[in-house]
Each structure stands twice: as structure tokens, then as C-alpha cells.
Symmetry: C2
């Protein structure tokens, strides 16, 4: 049994939910609409899931955990800080391309988590940002980066990456590697000649 992932109906529902939430937003998406895409009746979905909220929760925290793990892995590598930042840029793009819908939901619909989960989510996100900010700070200390405002740099980088979700289509004919290279180049070296 070497990593043969069983495709459960639950997984199908989650996948379609991510797509639907991205298209209509969590509030605008209805369970009947989702059920139609899955190919069963709305009521039947409750044999596989607990609630609409549970779908959102699983999407947000599932993706969130992936980000955390990847960042930790990169941080442990023995490479320079600019290389680490570039690795972060590359894996953000990879995540967005691999799991576009779920990443979009994480970015846009986390505010519909119930209050307890929302607090947890915000804590997770804060920690992630802190972790990334630390990489920038150390890079500055070592003289690898300019003496920039760390918060501004952090959010400029994170935000630059978010648009990939809105923009990237395979049809545009630019590979994810080239995209990562181009974005890295601009953020690292700017646009001015």
C-alpha cells in the first residue's frame, strides 16, 4: 500500500466546495448548489459531512497547516536568507497553482469561520507572519538586505504573491518556475534600471 489515496465522496465534496466558495464566496454559496455539482441531493451530503461550517474549517486549516510546514522546512535548510525568501516565494506560487481554490478560500473567506475558529486562525496567521518577518530581519542584520521597514517588506512580498491566484492560468503560457523567477526578480531587485 504505497500512498494509494482513496478518493472518498467526502474529498469530492471538499474539492467542489473550495471551487464553489471561491466563485461565490462562502455566504453566496448554497448547499443545494454544491450538491448539484457533486451530483447528489443536498440532504445526502450530510451522510459525509457535519455542516457547511465544517467545510470551511477543513479548507482553511488544511491549507494553513501546509503553509506552516513548508515554511518550517525552508527555514531549516542551510541556505542564505535571500535564498530562503526566494524559496518562500516559489512555494507560495506552487501552493496557489496546485490548490488554487482552497488557497483562495483561505485568503478571502476565513472571516466566516465561527468566532472560536477565527481566533485560532488569526493566531496561526500571525505566527506565520512573525516567522517570515524574522527571516527578513535576520537578512537585514547580516547585510544581505537593505535597511527597510520589515513590516512593509513582509506585506509587500505576501501581497505580491496573492495576486497570482487571480492571474495565473496555464493558458498564459508562462511556467510556474518562470513566474517565480520574475516575481522574485522584481521583489529582490526592483524595477528601476
Amino acid at each position: 500500500m504505497t500512498s494509494v489515496q482513496k478518493i472518498t465522496k467526502r474529498a469530492i465534496i471538499l474539492k467542489e466546495a473550495a471551487k464553489l466558495f471561491k466563485e461565490k464566496g462562502f455566504g453566496g454559496a448554497t448547499m443545494r448548489d454544491l450538491a448539484e455539482r457533486v451530483g447528489i441531493e443536498a440532504a445526502s451530503m450530510y451522510n459525509h459531512i457535519r455542516s457547511k461550517d465544517e467545510l470551511l474549517e477543513e479548507i482553511c486549516f488544511g491549507i494553513g497547516r501546509k503553509y506552516d510546514e513548508q515554511l518550517s522546512q525552508i527555514d531549516q535548510k542551510k541556505i542564505t536568507y535571500p535564498e530562503k525568501i526566494e524559496a518562500v516565494i516559489a512555494f507560495h506560487i506552487q501552493m496557489i497553482i496546485e490548490d488554487a481554490n482552497a488557497v483562495s478560500v483561505l485568503n478571502n473567506d476565513w472571516k466566516f469561520l465561527n468566532s472560536g475558529q477565527m481566533i485560532e486562525f488569526k493566531a496561526m496567521r500571525n505566527e506565520y507572519e512573525k516567522h517570515l518577518a524574522a527571516l527578513i530581519s535576520k537578512g537585514i542584520e547580516q547585510g544581505a538586505f537593505k535597511k527597510i521597514n520589515v513590516s512593509v517588506a513582509l506585506f509587500t512580498i505576501l501581497s505580491s504573491l496573492r495576486w497570482v491566484e487571480l492571474w495565473y492560468k496555464p493558458s498564459r503560457g508562462i511556467s510556474k518556475e518562470d513566474l517565480a523567477k520574475d516575481i522574485s526578480a522584481i521583489l529582490m531587485n526592483g524595477v528601476k534600471a
Copy 2:
């Protein structure tokens, strides 16, 4: 009567609607919730507005037109292309700080416009992006910018600016001028030392 703007109830509803839509999303916001914030009954609002959709429409196109006008004004100025881009960055930040809620609605809830208005909105946005892309292209031709991928540069800049909405608070103690300067610096010159 020198520019004495009368504060109509309609204007109050629009202002509160922008705030509410930002908080809960267009789908998650209810007319009863909005009415409560305005201080009247939900039904009473219909003496001042036509529908919930109309609120969204007015917010999106009102802000959209402001962006268009400002960009045109900057383009007409006799300054260099890097200076024009920096001016665009400054006014985006200005817009976000002055009209945070409405800008957020434009960015996140335009997809809830009815189909006709959505087409119009997308056309407006495409034109705006084309206009801005042309500024970058000309800057490259003149040798003022590196030979970068114009689309990547365009969206990296636009996306970097969007996060200001999520991040900026007067309480952080950084002025909008300083913020514009720092963001400009990173986008123009990068982070690498």
C-alpha cells in the same frame, strides 16, 4: 453656496453599506443589519434606495471612476515614467486610506454585481490595467526600467498596494507619506542590498 455638501440619508446608507459589506461580504450582509446601523427599519431604507444591488453598484462604480480620473491626471503630467509610477502608488495609498471601506468592496465584492454591470466593471478594470501597463512599457522603452515582464510587474505593483487596506491603521504610527515612500522604495529598488 460654495461646495456645501448636503449629507443626505442616502449618503449615510451608502457609507454604512460599504462598512458592512467590507466586514461581512456582500452575501453575508443583510438589509436588516444595515438598517440597524443606520438607525431605521429595513423597509424604511427603500424610501432612499432602490435595492441592495444598487448599493453595491454605486460603491463599485463610484470608486472605479475615481481611480480612472486620477490615473488620467497623472498620465498628463510632464514627469518621468518612474515618477508617474510613484505617483500612482501614492494615490492608491491615498484612496485606500481615505475610503478604505469602499475600496475594499470594489476589490472583493465586484463579483456580486449583476451580470450586465459585472461586464461593465471588468471592462473598466481591464482598461485601467492596460493604461497602467502602457506606462511601464514606455518606461522600459526609455531605459528607465529593467527589461521585465510587464504583466508580472503590473500585477506585482497593484497587488502590493492592495494589502494596505488590510494592514493600515493610523494607530501603527506610520504616515501615509512614509508608507508610500517605503513601498515605492521596495518596488522600485527591491530588497536586496
